[in-house]
């Protein structure tokens, strides 16, 4: 998922300059995908080309001109489509561990240890997130809970793999 559509969704809330849009983005989404100012301006000009956003006004305050953008009807439609399209579940996040366990199993190394070490890493991250979540804003809590749920799913796979090692050898 590129950062463009979340940006566009923020523009949908109300017209904004690149600068304010970046601030809104940081408040909401920077955890899952940080964004540079340059990317925000590049995205805005792409939105304009695609007809998803248009120039609302140009202000000149003490020097450089500031362009304020607003979303178009096509832009709103693009967001709707994006929001309602389910994401393909991917196994890329765990494919590296899967590969390492396979290699361990076929090379006489300890797959159990590969799993145990990964579990420690995963749990350390879960601990951090659990701690962070206590003081996080509601929006950040959602993002943290999402990451926690995925780590938990990975760990379930690690458990499952661990109990099947004997059969796999």
């Amino acid at each position: 998922m590129s950062a463009a559509l979340p940006l566009l969704a923020l523009l949908e809330q109300e017209p904004a300059h690149g600068y304010t849009l970046k601030q809104r983005y940081d408040d909401r989404f920077s955890r899952t995908r940080p964004l540079a100012f340059g990317q925000v301006y590049a995205a805005l000009s792409r939105f304009e080309t695609k007809g998803w956003a248009e120039l609302a006004e140009v202000e000149v305050v003490d020097g450089p001109e500031r362009k304020r953008y607003r979303i178009t009807e096509d832009g709103v439609e693009a967001i709707t489509e994006w929001v309602y399209t389910p994401q393909q579940p991917t196994e890329f996040a765990m494919s590296n561990l899967y590969t390492r366990v396979s290699v361990a199993l076929t090379s006489g190394r300890s797959a159990a240890e590969v799993l145990d070490r990964q579990r420690v890493q995963h749990l350390a991250r879960m601990r951090e997130l659990t701690q962070e979540r206590k003081t996080a804003t509601p929006a950040a809590q959602l993002a943290i809970t999402y990451e926690l749920a995925h780590l938990d799913a990975d760990l379930r796979w690690i458990e499952e793999a661990g109990t099947r090692l004997e059969d796999l050898r």
């Binding site: 159990a112 240890e113 145990d116 070490r117 579990r119 420690v120 995963h122 749990l123 350390a124 879960m126 601990r127 997130l129 659990t130 206590k134 926690l148 780590l151 938990d152 760990l155 379930r156 458990e159 661990g162 109990t163």
Partner: protein, 227 residues
Amino acid sequence: MTPGPAVLESRALTVRHGDTVAVDAVDLAITPGSRTAIMGPSGSGKSTLVHALAGVVRPGSGEVWFEDERLDLLSEAERSRRRLARMGMVFQFGDLVPELTLVENVMLPLQVLGEKARAARERALEMLDALGVAELADRRTGAVSGGQVQRAAVARALVHRPAVVLADEPTGALDSLTAERVLDAMVAVTAAAGAALVVVTHDHVVASHLDDLVVVRDGRVAEGAVA
């Protein structure tokens, strides 16, 4: 593991159920105020390990040290007295007495230890308050939710200021949100009391609320899985 002298420790602890070795030469040290998750597949021996640490099960061989004393050398009655006075236990299904109200349940350990009813009630109410269920004190267990029962069970486990709280799947019967809240309360109250907390769980989210992890597999503490 946090360094320092252990409040509860096993040395080469071995427990057999008939021909099966449920716990196999486990060395484990629980330091004061530490928070440890014990995880492992079902049948791995994690519950037996905790029961042996609590002195419920007597080991076949090895030692269990609790507050500078060999627990495994004591008689069943003496072990039970130590447990009652200095340990707190929490189980998956609260195990409160259904005929009693929440506050009466929480008063029980104190009364068994000889505390007067009035002082016991006061202290029990204090604990129920710390766990956020003081307003339900006079209800019976059947009249409150599962999460509230578990909060009362945690209050009961801590009411007599134990050195160690041992919990076996304490949130296993709760939905995930309630489980997290009960767990947060349990961790906070245990920390405030300065007691060590040992939680047997199969749930990594639960384990992520604790600082240390011990993985048990086939009765042994798994190498590389202690963090």
